[in-house]
């Protein structure tokens, strides 16, 4: 049996006006939790659960970092230490971890949350780990990247004291300079698309952590599909919650 039960919140931190972290025990029933995997979290104010990636994994605890978007995340933001939270997981396939290589981590907004877990898992095992992170406004969750990435570039859309602009510009520059074995990406859809496009163009392997509305989270309802190349012209609908949320940039068909 996979884990689906209540967990007790053992820590809660507000890290920005609308971004917070929740920590709970990593119980044995959850088994191994991979970066890029997620938990499906029940909210009193919504019918469906909300998928939230793991942001930090230790043998004893798991941290989620959450940005308030609507009703569900607003409910979660009101939970406090000691409260119970109903979750199931870990779900999805997560990142394929590349070892002893040069890797680049590219993230945007709350997409840094899963990248933090990824970074902590791959950093010690790779020759070099560069990072490019973009924010709309003020950045958050940067400490780990800034303190131990080989190179850490932060951009912001507004004039927040960081390089102004989008991740695509430094990305192109990085790819010109360095031959990366893998690019790990998570962020809003337009960013994923842009990064996938650039990586495909430069023929660099990239793993995208995708996002799509989900219902069951386990592969039963087929509402969360991603269009994946099949043969030269065909496609298959794969389930974001089972075969994803990680897909390789080279296999994804972005519609519209």
């Amino acid at each position: 049996m996979k884990f689906s039960d209540q967990v007790k919140i053992i820590d809660k931190q507000t890290i920005q006006e609308d971004v917070f972290t929740i920590t709970f025990d990593h119980v044995p029933e959850m088994g191994l939790v991979k970066p890029g995997q997620f938990f499906n979290v029940a909210c009193d104010t919504t019918l469906l659960r909300r998928p939230i990636s793991v942001c930090e994994v230790t043998p004893t605890s798991i941290v989620l970092a959450i940005k308030v978007i609507g009703k569900g995340t607003a409910f979660l933001s009101k939970l406090r230490v000691g409260d119970q939270m109903e979750i199931m997981g870990p779900l999805g396939n997560g990142f394929d971890l590349v070892e002893d290589s040069k890797v680049l981590v590219v993230g945007g907004g709350i997409g840094v949350a899963p990248l933090k877990a990824l970074f902590e898992a791959i950093k010690p095992k790779n020759i070099s780990t560069d990072v490019i992170i973009g924010f709309r406004d003020q950045p958050y969750l940067l400490e780990a990247f800034q303190s131990s990435a080989d190179r850490c570039t932060v951009v912001s859309e507004t004039d927040a004291g960081y390089l102004k602009g989008y991740v695509s510009e430094p990305l192109r520059a990085h790819l010109e300079e360095t031959q990366y074995d893998m690019v790990y990406v998570c962020g809003p859809l337009p960013m994923l698309k842009a990064v996938a496009h650039i990586c495909n163009e430069k023929k660099v392997n990239a793993q995208l952590l995708m996002e799509e509305k989900m219902a069951c989270g386990v592969g039963a309802c087929l509402v969360c599909t991603c269009k994946i190349k099949e043969g030269d012209f065909g496609f298959k609908h794969k389930r974001m919650c089972v075969e994803g949320p990680m897909f390789y940039a080279s296999e994804v068909i972005f519609d519209a």
Partner: protein
């Protein structure tokens, strides 16, 4: 110990809790969360003659206490179902209901014939699909078409036959009566209610086809009403569904006239829900000293 077993006119379930087509896949995924032996039956993901990739674009809109879906019958086709899924499901002590879908009456009949020789316990005729020959209007909303499709499928198979009705009709009673008269063994309802969602920021419909099927607690009062309408109209038993997320909801359906119930969208809220609903039903029977689940049916 209470007797929870119910008899759907020949299809005997060890308990009245089943899972609704399209919400439980072929059981594999949920087997990781719950002992499938607790289910009375599973109605599998709607199958078609040929494999289908389903609809493109966004397939779900969350709505207040409900959801619209537009999956478009993505499924591996009837032959893959027979080959891969029946053997898997046969490991468990539950009845297998094959939910079949066609573009034409001929397709329905062909699938019924194919499944007649296979190890399924019941065939559920989903007549909410758009009828290709009839300009895309759902089979289930035109009494004449319902008559024709049930009659011909009935002739194509001797299996237990469930006819699944659409709620999107002015009056469900004559349609239920036709299904009964044409030989359905059982009626299941409700399928999803037609709805639409618009993305006000992109100013376009969220679902590629515009219209999707509304399910979940939001539609429960509609479903209870329709189950009761059908209960008053036909003698064959009813498999009731629409928004069940608790034992109380399941009891409500049975009191309205359902002999068994199906959990659909509720599974998404909690992968152990069928187990919890079953427990709730036990408790209710205990509290009110009913000896068996059948005693609840239409008991208002």
């Amino acid at each position: 110990m209470h007797n929870l077993s119910v008899n759907l006119n020949g299809l005997i379930l060890k308990n009245p809790i089943t899972v609704a087509s399209g919400t439980y896949g072929f059981g594999r995924e949920y087997a990781d969360y719950m002992d499938l032996n607790q289910l009375g039956a599973i109605s599998v993901k709607g199958i078609t003659l040929e494999p289908r990739e389903g609809n493109g674009g966004i397939r779900i809109v969350e709505t207040p206490m409900g959801m619209l879906n537009s999956v478009g019958l993505q499924n591996p086709g009837v032959h893959a179902f027979i080959k891969n899924e029946i053997p898997f499901l046969r490991q468990f002590d539950l009845k297998i209901i094959a939910n079949i879908n066609g573009n034409t009456i001929e397709e329905y009949c062909e699938m019924a014939e194919i499944l007649s020789g296979e190890d399924v316990d019941s065939i559920e005729l989903n007549i909410s699909c758009p009828n290709v020959k009839n300009g895309g209007v759902a089979f289930g909303t035109d009494p004449n078409v319902v008559k024709e499709v049930v009659r011909r499928v009935r002739k194509s198979t001797t299996k237990h036959l469930i006819v699944k009705l659409s709620p999107n009709v002015t009056d469900i009673k004559p349609i239920a009566k036709i299904a009964e008269d044409e030989g359905a063994d059982c009626i299941s309802l409700i399928n999803t209610v037609s709805g639409m969602g618009i993305d006000i920021h992109k100013r376009k419909m969220i679902l590629e086809r515009g219209v999707g099927g509304l399910s979940g607690p939001a539609i429960k009062p509609i479903a209870i009403k329709l189950v009761h309408d059908v209960y008053k109209t036909v003698k064959i038993p009813i498999l009731g569904m629409g928004g069940i997320i608790s034992g109380e909801d399941a009891i409500e359906f049975m009191l309205a006239g359902a002999t068994a119930v199906a959990i659909g969208t509720g599974n998404f809220t909690d992968p152990k829900l069928p187990e919890k609903v079953l427990k709730g039903m036990y408790q209710y029977l205990e509290t009110y000293k009913f000896e068996n689940a059948h005693a609840l049916v239409g008991n208002i």
